[in-house]
Symmetry: C2
Subunit: 359 residues, 2 copies
């Protein structure tokens, strides 16, 4: 672990101060499981907090399907999250073929409706009904999957509403999104941070990764990528490569990977703040937090507790995370014992203007 005094003495180390970061696609597969849920959520949000994130939007899904789909499962998730989150957070709720009316009842309690396109495959009428019932001022999230991406973009375009595509993973999908964005800035998207740095070419078995060519397209069209995210991709990669799957994979790698790209001149710090704070807050109407993160750009470390494709020295240490005036993280380690994160959903609707002004 980091020694603060030692670091402070190293005057050649550059530090920067950012607002607390927001992860919009947090993977907590047991979010509504009252037995397994609390420990998983604690571990996940602790890792996010120690990585500079002060807000986690939770995805309502596991590998086997949606886990938050109605009043009862949302209530279970709320109970799981009592005193179990180190960051502020929000839930999202998943649409299914037959819950359009019931998810709508929970709209005010979540930040977005998630459309699990695999489960809704070929169910155009169900997706149209979900979009129709869901309040216009509330966000909708869909995963980018070539075949279904166009239908969901078509339906949202017909209904004249916003949509956020999460986990864009190939250039055709991004090109389609770009075409739609050119006409309607309410269409936004994110790319998993791992997808910017590891390619199918490196792990041929991981067909969900972009190819080098896709990645090149991402880097050349960064302006069209509204947000970065840490989602389920690191877990999927560990799975497919036969490595041990742990809770919280890929979280601590994320910011150092982006900071390395800054060093290479491919990205600026502002690009990171825009995509891990400003845009996520606008897109999902997340209230302003009083939070500050201090980062030591030159602190070098090698992590080896969890499997990672980046088994090398990385730069970027979280010196301090301050939330509401209280120091929660010091030298990369949690120093505040309580998991005091709150479920925070903005009661006032997002102004369409705000999201239309993105970038």
């Amino acid at each position: 672990t980091l020694d603060v005094s030692e670091r402070d003495a190293q005057t050649s180390h550059r530090t920067i101060t950012l607002p607390g970061l927001i992860n919009i696609a947090t993977y907590v597969p047991n979010a509504s499981h009252v037995i397994k849920g609390p420990a998983e959520l604690k571990e996940t949000t602790r890792l996010f907090l120690e990585s500079g994130f002060t807000y986690c939007q939770l995805m309502p899904r596991s590998i086997s399907g949606p886990v938050i789909t109605d009043v009862a499962s949302l209530k279970a998730a709320n109970s799981v999250s009592q005193d179990s989150s180190y960051t502020d957070f929000s839930f999202t709720i998943a649409g299914t073929a037959h819950n359009a009316h019931s998810v709508t009842q929970s709209a005010s309690k979540v930040t977005a409706l998630f459309l699990p396109l695999r489960e809704l495959k070929n169910k155009i009428t169900a997706v149209a009904e979900l979009l129709n019932q869901w309040p216009t001022e509330k966000q909708v999230i869909a995963e980018a999957k070539t075949a279904d991406l166009a239908s969901v973009l078509l339906l949202t375009s017909l209904q004249n509403r916003s949509i956020h595509i999460t986990g864009v993973s190939n250039k055709e999908d991004l090109a389609l999104i770009m075409t739609v964005k050119a006409k309607d800035p309410r269409v936004t998207c994110d790319v998993n941070i791992y997808s910017l740095f590891i390619a199918q070419d490196d792990y041929p078995e991981a067909v969900f990764l972009p190819t080098k060519e896709d990645q090149e397209f991402f880097w050349n069209n960064l302006d069209s990528i509204d947000a970065f995210s840490v989602g389920a991709l690191p877990v999927a990669l560990a799975n497919v490569t036969g490595n041990k799957v742990d809770v919280g994979m890929g979280i601590k790698d994320s910011l150092p990977l982006l900071l390395a790209a800054v060093e290479e001149g491919k990205l600026t710090i502002d690009d990171i703040v825009l995509r891990l704070h400003d845009n996520p807050a606008k897109i999902f109407n997340i209230p302003t937090q009083d939070s500050v993160v201090e980062i030591d750009l030159d602190y070098s470390f090698r992590r080896n507790k969890r499997w990672s494709p980046f088994n090398k020295d990385m730069n970027g240490g979280i010196e301090r995370v301050v939330y509401n005036g209280e120091t929660l993280v010091l030298s990369g380690e949690l120093v505040s014992p309580g998991a005091k994160g709150k479920c925070i959903v903005n009661p006032s609707p997002a102004s369409i203007t705000a999201s239309a002004e993105l970038q």
Copy 2:
């Protein structure tokens, strides 16, 4: 062959008079092949004329790909069609990944741009460019194929232009089209006549056929089907079932199949005229012809020259086809020797209003 006097004597036979029918998806795979083309076109259009059709819009494709894609191939097709068509006709031209600017030069000479989605798969930018270059007042045709249908509908919706989907073959595709039509009546579609009567359940190897369930959805949503068509499906069916493939398959079955549905009360004669004449003319801006078709509803026949899945007695004989005052067909047989059909494309643009008023 029919004996006119015998038929006239049978006063119990009901006859009806329709305008000359229009087929919007005529399959002539050698349309631009100067050696094989003329005989194929003659045979095809003769069968159409003898079946009550006086206008054929030709598809620019064969099983192996597009056959009319530029000025040169369109010129070849024009030369093929000299004195080789028994009906009036028009060509359509196929878009490719790199002919957006050149097809546009031929726009005034054809009735529509055809987007072969198989060849344009994952080429969103190319399709967007084709749609962007193609004159707004000219029609675009795309084949309905689940994965690509949504993208092409999305792109046309973004460009605020009309599109016609040909050969809808499953209920999900029709449901998607219906959803879009509800917002934009410039989206139109046709179903192959065979698709209304034979199902994948009968020919499991023919995966391009609808299932019985799809068919039920078609019949229940006939209002959303703007046109009927005779396309390449009968040939594809012969192919996949190992039957002999001939030029002109499925043409002579088409009207009798629809007339049988009228007898069953599933359809009216007006429904047929709307979908084989009125709507095709509006959708593709086809000039009015001076043509009349007399049909004997009770004339029974069994056809066995070409393989057909309908190896049974069918009702509906073409008594007479009169074009510009001249009788071209009598008792189901061509009586005018010359192939005097002309390439007829309306020089004046279709009014958007006309197509918006469809149905």
